[in-house]
Symmetry: C2
Amino acid sequence: MKRRVFFLSDHTGLTVEAMGRALLSQFEQLEFQARRWPFLDSPDKVSAAAARIKQLSAGDQARPLVFSSFVDSDSRKRLDDSGALVLDFFASYTGVLEQELHAGVCATTGMQHGIGQREHYDARIRAVNFALANDDGGAGRDYAAADRVLLGVSRSGKTPTCLYLGMQFGILAANYPITDDDLQRDWNQLPVLDFRDKLFGLTINPVQLQRIRQERRPGSVYASLPQCRHEVAETEALFQRFRIPYADTTAMSVEEIAASILHQGGLESRVGC
Amino acid sequence: MKRRVFFLSDHTGLTVEAMGRALLSQFEQLEFQARRWPFLDSPDKVSAAAARIKQLSAGDQARPLVFSSFVDSDSRKRLDDSGALVLDFFASYTGVLEQELHAGVCATTGMQHGIGQREHYDARIRAVNFALANDDGGAGRDYAAADRVLLGVSRSGKTPTCLYLGMQFGILAANYPITDDDLQRDWNQLPVLDFRDKLFGLTINPVQLQRIRQERRPGSVYASLPQCRHEVAETEALFQRFRIPYADTTAMSVEEIAASILHQGGLESRVGC
């Protein structure tokens, strides 16, 4: 029997869901059945949600869990009728923070992604467009303007990582796909090495790479295990020879790869507080 | 004097930063100076961070704030020496959850994005690739396979939203750019209307649209205010005539747009617990 979990928010609910999942992931041995209900931006909507939670979990062996982040205390109160164990992130901390900061909260919902963030929005969109324009095969890649240039064999995760770096941090990330031709020429002649201080390499387990490439071009040399092994081994040798920092992405999420790249290079997000 | 804030984590720190910023955004009248220090995955690294925080804030008028999420209680203890007000999200809730779930936490760092999530990773990458392949101007867009097809004029935010829907939720999102040619023909003939139940429209304030287009093609008809007004008005008329749900993205973040699209259509994320 999976324990029922709800992530409730007056806004997108993305943050409360991420934090709730992080907490639940510590209980590896248990299984959960989770849903996110966003945009509950009035006490009446919260009451309706509470009634629905009560109804859905009526036959459950254990009460459901609710993770929430309601700015409005009246909304939080409405959850008392849900029959759930309610953990509200805002309720737990706003009091402490009010005391520490000698200031009251402005009970406006959805401040965290609001209209005041226009420059951040623009910076992020610009960075996503930069990643798209400077992706694999893009003509005239603008490495000079990039904050980071990712290197790696085809299907090692460069494109999603560049997009994530742009979307989340406003970082301008280009990428350079290392081809078999590159590996066979004199490495000193690789033009991308002119940007040594911006380079970051991605590598991947050859078996995993083969699996991914098989989906794309089944039965091709490109997707064969010997080819994958060869490309990965040579690429890692290249990273080592030129002291290019790199990460093995085999067991990493896009978030982890992106955060590692920032951390390794001491780069700061361009979209802060 | 901006209050100093640190987001500390044994892992990427993205979740603790998002939650910390959401809390601080309620204190609109105050200014903060925030940094994220990720990958503090041993008590010694945490001690070093605590010492650095103490040093940096030595001359400050008020103690710094630390938001953290350490699975390991020894690491949490090391923060006592930082001189900061420490709010640890895991410390506050794991006890309550252990009691409720009759289970102990497995003190493994970084579970939330870990290796067990391989299918989720694959689903997300597949969805990002789908968004790229089915973006503006992509030949042979596969609307039949899409979960959602976004409609809107050029520069209304379709591409970043599709990428975000893929990256965050594993949702297959394609897009159809509405051109002036489309607006001048018989709307009933628009092929994308064959996918009525998947459509979602994006609109935008014409002045904002003009500003964005000016950056791209300064002085062009495309970027002129009359042209922007015309395209936006006609597109909104089209959405209304065919009862296509739509959102005005002018003051919305990518997260908000994406969450609204899911919510409106009752779509669930493909990458859950």
